[in-house]
């Protein structure tokens, strides 16, 4: 009662089967990763919605042309990497790539019908975290986005950024230290002067 039996019964050639399977695979990858990729590209491209859309579209177009057996085992990292490279290209072309994430568009997207007073405190916290993330050095910022924003593993991030796994680990750890200090520093700005 599974799909293979079913298709076999219709005497379809192996080539046809593979092609149908390929399309299904492409679509499933697309459905699974397009959202995360757009989110990633959007941040990489400093909140330019259109560029992010183009970037992701092109990454998938390239995936369509790539032989499946070469990418299948690591398709997530492959797509993020392709997106990243494409974003870099776009940045070079249009000199618009920044790591600023605190754009108006972003704020609009995350605040829906919320009573402003009700969440004033946490909105403030949110804004601060956001700001501190965007202040991180480029590579640290990137690994934070990939690990904590997209949930990629260290290994996948290593592939995307072409760094070693332990380097990714170090970068992320440094980013965490920085963010902790930054947040703690703002919290206890008065009392902790001597420590910093």
């Amino acid at each position: 009662m599974n799909s293979t039996d079913n298709q076999d019964s219709l005497a379809r050639s192996p080539i046809e089967l593979r092609e149908v399977g390929h399309a299904v695979w492409l679509q499933s990858v697309f459905e699974r990763l397009q959202g995360p990729l757009v989110g990633y590209a959007y941040k990489l491209l400093g909140g330019d919605w259109d560029l992010a859309q183009d970037c992701v579209q092109e990454a998938f177009m390239r995936l369509c042309k790539e032989p499946r057996d070469r990418v299948e085992s690591h398709v997530d990292a492959w797509l993020f990497k392709t997106c990243r490279n494409r974003a870099m290209d776009m940045h070079r072309q249009e000199a618009r790539m920044t790591f600023q994430t605190d754009s108006p568009a972003l704020t609009t997207l995350s605040s829906r019908e919320i009573d402003p007073g009700q969440q004033a405190v946490s909105a403030e916290q949110t804004r601060r975290i956001d700001e501190e993330i965007s202040k991180l050095p480029t590579l640290e910022h990137e690994v934070v986005l990939l690990r904590l924003g997209q949930g990629l593993s260290y290994k996948q991030i290593a592939e995307v950024t072409e760094l070693s796994v332990s380097h990714v680990g170090v970068l992320l750890h440094q980013a965490m230290l920085r963010l902790r200090q930054a947040m703690a520093g703002e919290n206890d700005a008065v009392t902790n002067v001597s420590n910093s």
Partner: protein, 950 residues
Amino acid sequence: MQPKKSEITDPNIEAWELTAYALNELDAESRARLEKHLESNPESRAELKEIESIASAIQRQLSTVAPSMALDPARTKNLLDTMSLESSQGRDAIGDPHASKASSVDRTSTPSRTGWTFSRAAVTALCALAATVLIALMVAPESLHGLRKQIGMSGPMESHVAVASESDFATKQESKSNASVTVDEKAQPAFGPGTSGATDETENRYSSTLGGVTAEASPAEGANPKDQEILLEDLIRDNGSEGQRSLDLAAGEVTAEGDALEEGLKQKDSELRAKSFGVNPPDITSNDSIGVPSDEYVREGMKGRFEVGGTVNGDLGMNGKAVLENETKLATLAETATPIPSSGPAALPALTLNSKRNELAAGGASGGGRGGLPGGGIGGPVPDMLPGGGGGRTNAIAPPFGNADVRAIRGYSPGSVGRSGTSAEGRTSYDYAETSVDGRSDGKAQAFPDELRANVPSLRMPPTTPSGDRFDELIESPFTEVASAPLSTFSIDVDTASYTKLRQYLVENHSLPTPGSLRIEELINYFDYDYQGPADNSPFAAHLRLTDCPWNKDHQLVRVAIQAKKVDTENRPASNLVFLIDVSGSMAAANKLPLVKRTLSLLASQVRENDRVAIVVYAGAAGCVLPSTPGSKKDAILASIQELQSGGSTNGGQGIELAYRIAKDNFVPGGINRVILCTDGDFNVGVTGTDQLVTMMQENAKSNVFLTCLGYGIGNYNDSMMEQISDKGNGTYAMVDNELEARRIMIEQLSGTLMTVAKDVKIQVEFNPARVASYRLLGYENRRLATADFDNDRKDAGEIGAGHRVTALYEIVSVGKEGVIPANVELRYGAEKQENVKDGAAKDADPVSSHTDEWLYLKIRSKQPEATESTKQEFVLRDKQQALLAREQMDLDWAVSVAEFGLLLRQSPLAPGIDWNRMLSRAQECIGNDPYRRECWSMMQQAKQLSDRK
């Protein structure tokens, strides 16, 4: 600025590994090393804690933004086209990637479009053909009979053979004519050849009293359990001359005219009033609850007592059974409005004289009878807004441990006068003097026939949260003693709305939801669990598991996991979909109509050539904006979706009628026929009463058109309405709060969303009194069914989609640990109860019974999507459990953690040892790579902070 260096001095540990540990990125070896280090270094532990908290804060921040990200529809479509093209035309046809931008702007003039359409048509036609063959095999009505035989032989299923209480002539004849099925059933392997008699004993597995009584009465027929049932029925019929009539009428499915119906009920009402213990019926007329007739429970209770006592002799037992059956008929009567059988109440006093225990049983029975009947009294124009409307409320405040027999389910929200309990069920038992009010009012409420319900002017409004959302308050069910009620019956629920709602509260509103609004089962069922599907053609596989109860170390949890068979998305049959979209003014908000459009675009992108899509909108009036259109005209479908605009008031009723008409006109036999309702549930024009809408859905559900309710938005949101509509309309109900959720429903779980593999799925668990002293089901408060409903094929229950899974958790107290539950208040019978338990245990230890290693016995009844008869599957939880794989253990722990999370949010008084921190750390262990669990975990943390702040 350079970050401050960590103070780790251990040469084996690198500082960065702390972060890696917090993020679960270390391999086992480094992990062990680090854990060892952590044990001796409090500073590192503190640092780790800090890292974890900042990591989750960042995660939360990044994830609140990410969900709304997606490729726009034009680009999406363009890419999907390219992908299809890729497979059927080869790579040469793909142009330069940069050209795609142009094609995305001009969606109709891509040069390769014609070629694509053609070749894709060929591919999908083949797929469709395959799918059609598959589906014809699976669900076509004409092949059902053959299939059932086949199933009967190959798997642990059996055809539905009605129990005496439900049997009508039609069913009986059928069970006779299905002789071959009967044979299969006997041969079915669930319990091995030695116990087939017990297996066939439909009502009760762990006690032979019922069968014994019958056997005594009919020694000649004893060999065939089916005949026993029939004979029993004959005897009952002889016992009460009116009973025959009621049975006849039930068989003929007579729907009496409203007047006659009401008259019949009134007659019963007055008779029962005469029997009632001086309680004033108007006290209890305010309830129009739906749910479970309490007299069903009473019957169950009586049976339990007969069995446990073991003192009832054959004749009396028969008598008792007859009373029982007459009580059943009372219940049936309440439904079909036939005159009351006089022998039922008359038989009660006789029984009463016999022994104390029987007296109690009789008391219960008459309580149930009373309960069952006055329901007719409110068939008239009694508004359900009477203040002080009691049943639900009385139940709602019943002490959790005080009386295990009072089952308060959906009760009365103290905050709103205007609403009586939507579904209150309860029953009197040992001490009817004390709890009789419950029994009566509930019974009445329950027995109030559905057919009449629409006549009651519906003025109630569910309670409202500060945000304007309306929901039904759920009351947790307390522990039930196995000795008195060994059977627990409920309808499955694969809805997830409650979880999504919770997420909205936590993530967007930064507030905790109202405790009473949480449906724990929907939290648990939101997540994926890797349960193995059925190996054969059965609709379900079940996985039972016993585990520790984290919030009470003396209790245990039983996980009941049910996995529906999986169907690949591409193998789904042809679909006939009707989108029914609320475009009223209230839908204008950014998280409503725009998100609806996005959801529909996602679904439209998945539509194939042999599918059909129609769009109906409703606001002040309903209209069809897209007649049923084949999937090949995707452009037209997408264009219609994009043009949707909001404005006006909401006439939901008219829209529902129109949508169902279109769905029926385009019905695909054996295919997916489904109305997809997208709304915020704020119906305010036309048919607006929940009851009327529910009736309307019930009518329409008979046409085998299924329903998906998608709820949108926060504020002004009517959860209660949505839940009820989907319950009654053969539907599922999910909330869509963001794009990610839309994607989850429409892409990841598409086959489950669209393709119903079984309907009216009911679960009955029988606990072995030799092992289990008492139990309580976590969640499913509004899904309880009466014991007899399990075998009643006319009783509606939940639907399940392809690949869906249902997880239910029972908290149980095993025999010998009863002392842990605070003693029941009625000490008068406390001693006797203890005795009963011992009796039960002794009886089960008898060598005749071979079930001592069993904890419980699970039965699942379900129907194929277009069938009217159910099939049954059975499973047993035994002492010996196979070791779990790591991921299975993670699934189990996760389900338990989510249940604990739910109990914490509900501030459950029944889980005294509950603890946020322990729950959080256990949950963290089983996140794995699942992004939804990860999201939930950060919600858990946030919820803890919010509740700490309180």
